[in-house]
């Protein structure tokens, strides 16, 4: 290779390299800052970078009986209960929407789309007001119910798509061989729809773990989830604790997103919203 062609190739790669560099800065710059705050022992104004690094704040956040553990357990329990409730409602609904004759099916689908089509904050405000009347504010049940609204919407969409993608000829074969409808559903339909339903559960779980607005109106001050803990720490100027909580919150999001492609297949994905 001659010098001239090397130089030409270098020049052709220079612009893309610059672009990727800028993108990396924009994407990872803020995240790097989060990491620095999480491990910064001392970082006061004139210093542009932390003057001391360490795990001091991690010990403070995770010492026994600290508020972080309570918030972490609340968050996980609320998310699991939200998944259970949303999926219990969404699996039958998704099966009916995908497979059974329904009056005004398009209208029903529209109802399950609406919550994503308009701003949700006024809805949460009014749910909080209604729950106040029922004594549900500040209870786990109230928070689970308010998390189930977005959860149910995602779950119904994905469950409908998952049941829609099931191969019907296998069901018919099973019925022809003498299997009853329930056995056909258990042995043929459910296993095929299962990855899609797992994907739906993952979405509901993540949405609940990260949910802030609904918990803010319905749960506080009695119930503290990780997002609420993070918000309070940040507003109180305690960036170390806020950043550590933020990193904990990132673990399920990024972890689940790495595995979700295994569960959400293209044939299901292309059916969402139909």
């Amino acid at each position: 290779m001659t010098m001239a062609s090397i130089a030409r190739r270098g020049a052709a790669n220079l612009l893309p390299a610059l672009m990727i560099g800028i993108c990396a800065f924009v994407v990872f710059g803020p995240l790097t800052n989060l990491f620095m705050w999480a491990f910064a022992e001392k970082w006061f104004f004139p210093a542009r970078y932390p003057t001391e690094y360490g795990f001091d704040f991690w010990q403070r956040v995770f010492r026994p009986r600290a508020g972080a553990w309570t918030s972490l357990f609340s968050s996980v329990w609320i998310a699991l209960a939200t998944v259970a409730l949303s999926m219990a409602l969404a699996v039958p609904a998704g099966y009916a929407l995908a497979r059974l004759a329904l009056p005004a099916r398009a209208f029903i689908m529209l109802i399950f789309l609406l919550p994503q089509a308009f701003p949700s904050l006024p809805i949460f405000v009014n749910i909080a007001r209604m729950f106040y009347g029922f004594g549900l504010n500040g209870t786990y049940l109230g928070v689970v119910l308010v998390h189930s609204l977005p959860g149910l919407v995602y779950a119904v969409w994905i469950a409908t798509a998952a049941f829609g993608a099931v191969d019907r000829t296998m069901e018919e074969a099973a019925r022809n061989l003498g299997a009853g409808p329930l056995r056909t559903f258990r042995d043929i339909t459910l296993p095929q729809a299962f990855p899609g339903l797992i994907a739906a559960s993952i979405f509901v779980f993540l949405d609940s773990i990260d949910e802030f607005t609904g918990t803010f109106f319905v749960g506080t001050p009695d119930i503290s989830t990780l997002p609420i803990l993070m918000f309070n720490a940040s507003m109180g100027g305690n960036y170390q604790i806020a950043s550590i909580t933020a990193l904990v919150l990132l673990v399920p999001s990024i972890g689940f997103m790495l595995v979700i492609e295994r569960f959400l297949k293209a044939d299901v994905l292309s059916r969402i919203g139909r």
């Binding site: 609904a93 009056p103 109802i111 149910l152 806020a242 933020a246 919150l249």
Partner: protein, 288 residues
């Protein structure tokens, strides 16, 4: 098949489906339809149960600036989101440097997986006057220390919303662009058209619908997120979401909060209406 003589009554065939979907519909009714109706109704009711527009007038009087601010921030965010996602999706589709396309495809998705509340916290520390962004720019000699300023105002909001929403819109756009017929692009390339021209004149018109859907969903998100404005902006004017929360938590004034909510519905409804008209026009043009 003997279907004609064995037709059951229309409702009987639909009963199993209705029974299966009834619990989910009931939940949506209680958790969405009722609060939605209440949010609209209580914006117009006075204390004695009569109709009034007083709450709407109070909302405009006290929070008119915040409403205008919200609309401007939303428009600026959507403009930035459009430009950046078109550029990224275009590069992913037409880019000539394979390693850069692969790197970009890996890079651009990250913020999608990061919760809004975490994005709010990162923005709060990254964009501050002595935040990491300014520190890095000063140390690399691109900026003078004296000109460093905090971006924690409308600019911080626009940047944070765009940071979170660009991957989502890009994901939709890149998918749509990948399914566009390549032969027209190849033909234009052979005729000597540059990549940028191919993107703007051939690819973009064919994925306009997808772009609009992505932007409308982003608008709904921008109008719904509470954590980001509360964490990025201190003081006035701020986003309507922040003001609604303020009205409820400090004054227990649900009526004015609901009136503000009505304005946020209106803003998204206008966007949805514009989208519907545009797609209808497209259909009519296609029919002609």
């Amino acid at each position: 098949m003997p279907t004609a003589d064995a037709t059951p009554s229309p409702l009987r065939g639909k009963l199993p489906g209705l029974l299966l979907i009834a619990p989910a519909l009931l939940a949506i009714a209680l958790l969405y339809v009722v609060p939605l109706a209440r949010s609209v109704i209580f914006a117009f009711l006075d204390q004695d149960g009569g109709l009034t527009t007083a709450h709407l007038r109070t909302a405009i009087e006290l929070y008119g600036r915040d409403i205008v601010f919200t609309v401007l921030v939303a428009l600026a965010s959507l403009a930035l989101i459009s430009v950046v996602s078109i550029a990224i999706a275009g590069y992913l589709t037409l880019g000539a440097t394979p390693w850069a396309v692969t790197a970009l495809r890996w890079l651009y998705r990250w913020p999608l997986f990061i919760p809004f509340i975490v994005a709010g916290q990162t923005a709060r520390s990254f964009l501050a006057r002595n935040g990491l962004m300014n520190s890095l720019l000063i140390d690399s000699g691109l900026m003078d220390q004296a000109t460093a300023q905090s971006l924690l105002d409308w600019r911080g909001l626009v940047l944070t919303f765009a940071w979170k929403q660009v991957p989502f819109v890009t994901l939709l756009l890149a998918g749509a662009m990948a399914s566009v017929d390549r032969s027209t692009v190849e033909a234009a390339r052979n005729m000597g058209a540059g990549r940028l021209r191919c993107l703007i004149e051939i690819l973009l018109p064919q994925v306009r619908g997808t772009l609009l859907v992505g932007l409308i969903l982003s608008l709904v998100t921008i109008m719904s997120v509470l954590s980001v404005p509360m964490m990025v902006i201190a003081g006035n004017p701020t986003m309507m979401t922040s003001m609604m929360a303020h009205r409820v938590t400090y004054y227990g004034d649900y009526a004015v909060a609901n009136a503000l909510g009505l304005f946020s519905y209106l803003i998204t409804a206008v966007a949805a209406y514009a989208y519907l008209r545009m797609t209808l026009n497209q259909h009519n043009e296609g029919a002609r």
